[in-house]
Symmetry: C2
Subunit: 154 residues, 2 copies
Amino acid sequence: MRSGYGWLHQNFRGGGPPPTLPRRYIINIFTTQRGHLSAEDVFTKVQKLYPRTGFATVYRTLDLLRREGILRRFEFGDGRARYELADQNFHHHHLVCRQCGRIINYSDFTKEEEELFRRIEKALKKKYDFAIDSHQLHFYGLCARCQKSKKEEL
Amino acid sequence: MRSGYGWLHQNFRGGGPPPTLPRRYIINIFTTQRGHLSAEDVFTKVQKLYPRTGFATVYRTLDLLRREGILRRFEFGDGRARYELADQNFHHHHLVCRQCGRIINYSDFTKEEEELFRRIEKALKKKYDFAIDSHQLHFYGLCARCQKSKKEEL
DNA sequence: TCCTTATTGATAATGATTCTCAATAGAGTA
DNA sequence: TACTCTATTGAGAATCATTATCAATAAGGA
Ligand SMILES: [Mn+2]
Ligand SMILES: [Mn+2]
Ligand SMILES: [Zn+2]
Ligand SMILES: [Zn+2]
């Protein structure tokens, strides 16, 4: 019957799935600290707030929140998926350190990027009849610290 | 002593690792057909050419060729890594269908992209002291076929 | 040929993620 | 409140891609 749930957390759309305790805790984790969290990261953090939480619930909730558009999912190449809050006021892309895995958000050139990407999307839609809903741009390299430690090796 | 190997396959740099049979077969697979192959894809194809090949060798070789700069590795979100030939004459990005996993190469706007990305890289290097060596841009959405099958569902 | 080292293939191990299923929680109803 | 019905949960097993182990083999160099 799925009704009467719209009142709870603003991040859940009215009529959607019920905002249960673990779900709210997990949302809180993402809203209170900006990070790129793996399932394990989230599990550890929820445990402290709500120790009975199981790993399966964390995975299920992360996927639920992704489907609801609350979280975005990334694969940066370290073998585990990472999630962050989908904040349309903070559109950004990522710098990924190949050595230590550090991830840096950057939002420079947003204007120009958006301009170019809009045109690309339009052209691709026309050329390939492809309905684009999102994009990801990752730059890979070495962070400042890892460049230093590499020099010291020599 | 690692010498005398430079003569074999042009794709291996002189003095590098020896171009053994399975390695050459795997390179051939990538040079003869342009695709985004998973380890399993490659395994199946090598099997036909050189049936004694083991899975471990495929994984090891894919990683070797990536380190040598011959292959590029991608994660498109379907849970398995995919590889393609690193062809600097065909710089391109990808369209990924969320439904069926189809991957389309596109190389429109290369000029403008490169222009913008060069500036971004420069700025990020300055701002974050980050040594960028590559980037990946993925557009996600629905391919033509999957859009149709979605309409037919209704 | 003999020595030495790199590569290989079979297999076991790992690690992230998903599945299964019985127990529980909670909304709606009388 | 007690009862019914469904969705959610947690524990653990299962899956799947990838890595590690290790003994056997191949190939260069002396
Ligand atoms: Mn981010
Ligand atoms: Mn490609
Ligand atoms: Zn680093
Ligand atoms: Zn498709």
